[in-house]
Amino acid sequence: MIDLHGYGPSIFGGAILTIEVALLSLLLALILGLLGALAKLSSNKLLKLIATLYTTIIRGVPDLVLMLLIFFGGQMMMNEVSDWLYETYDWDVFININEFVAGVITIGFIFGAYMAETFRGAFQSVDHGQIEAGHAYGMSRWHIFRRIMFPQMMRHALPGLSNNWMVLLKTTALVSVIGLADMVRLASEAAKAVHEPFTFLLPVAGVYLALTAISEWFLKRLEIKFNAGVLTGSAA
């Protein structure tokens, strides 16, 4: 067995934190992605412009730069807001952008942009005639979304979503740079302390591989579920 010099439990805690960051940012990314896709497809020009700017800018800038900007810049902005509130209204409130919040917001924000593109493509691939049929049945817009659009959209979106999730999972490693004690940070600190980089970093790489493998298995099941009822002729 590998000797982790007593750092084992804390690195395990870091692994849990990594998963937490990944899942929370996935949630944020899905919400932002759906909103972004709906805005891009809407007839409102302003919404369209905002969504296009969002996806273009976010996808053009490195994740680490955005993370540093949100972590350091976001905090300064909050400080100014809170100072202003204190001086004008004598309110003493402040919002703390710690490493965790900055990490989740940044990753959620970045992948929201990628998700928006995935969802947009998926929405567009739903046959328009089916939506018209829904209208003809007197379904409300929400009903059409829930019963017709969403289930079919998911089928088309799933490969893209899976891909985004895999990339997102690995992006969480960046939170270690802004100081969050995730698995990568704890392992690299331990590695530096005892001068054994391989002992600590290889298991961490192994955990990422395991998470990838588990995700692949799970997403495969999900794909089967959403593809139920679709005939894929092998002869086609």
Partner: protein, 239 residues
């Protein structure tokens, strides 16, 4: 106009000549790092991609293992392993290799090359696998050897098919290169971190580099679109 511009420079202490020079050096480092990583990565990925597309599992499986490991773990972990790991190999500091590895630039380049080569290998494999069966059969019927088929038929069309995916990989590499700043390399991001630490002005420091990255990304997208239009011209409908 020029006066207003000069006044802007005189007024702030962040965008003065030394810091702009620092950003410029960072830009040069980023471009060097990304360009070299992509070039070497592509050279390595080409034979690996061909092997990965092979029907013989003894050839394709080991390559799969390599790409799976490098695509399944964060680049940051790979970088740490190579940067700190190489310093710990016993005897390495006395060997000639240390001349190269002592500088942070090369461990970082190695990590980037191995990473991008793994992704590129899979892109090449996908493109080769998608070669229409008929084309290969026709080539065989002409009596072309395996190598000739590869060179004349498979690779030229695979290159075209792989181009859109590869252009994404290039942009990913540009963005991923920002983590070089973690191991003391002053790339664009490193320059921004230095300037932030000196003036405590996150918006000036980071938004400025964000804009530079954005411009670089647009230049890449534009170039690849031109290239795609040129290479895919035969697929365009006649108007």
């Amino acid at each position: 106009m020029l006066e207003a511009f000069l006044a802007l420079f005189a007024d702030n202490d962040i965008f003065n000549p030394p810091t702009l020079l620092h950003y410029w050096d960072g830009l040069v480092t980023t471009v060097q790092l990304v360009f070299l990583a992509l070039l070497i990565g592509l050279i390595i990925a080409l034979p690996l991609g061909i092997m990965r597309a092979s029907d013989n599992p003894w050839i394709s499986r080991p390559i799969w293992l390599y790409t799976y490991a490098f695509r399944g773990t964060p680049l940051l972990v790979q970088l740490y392993l190579i940067y700190y790991g190489t310093a710990q190999i016993s005897g390495i500091q006395e060997s000639f290799l240390w001349e190269i590895l002592a500088d942070a630039f090369y461990p970082c380049l190695i990590a980037f090359v191995l990473n991008t080569a793994a992704y590129t290998t899979e892109i090449i494999r996908g493109a080769i696998k998608a070669t229409p069966r008929g084309e290969i059969e026709a080539a065989k019927a002409y009596g072309m050897s395996w190598f000739l088929r590869l060179r004349r038929i498979v690779l030229p069309s695979a290159m075209r098919r792989g181009l859109p995916a590869y252009s994404n990989e290039v942009i990913f590499m540009l963005h991923a290169s920002s983590i070089a700043s973690v191991v003391t390399i002053v790339d664009l991001t490193g320059a921004a971190r230095d300037i932030y630490a000196r003036y405590y002005a996150p918006f000036d420091a980071f938004i400025f580099v964000a804009c530079i990255y954005l411009c670089l990304t647009f230049v890449l997208i534009f170039t690849f679109r031109k290239l795609e239009n040129k290479l895919m011209a035969h697929l365009r409908p006649l108007s």
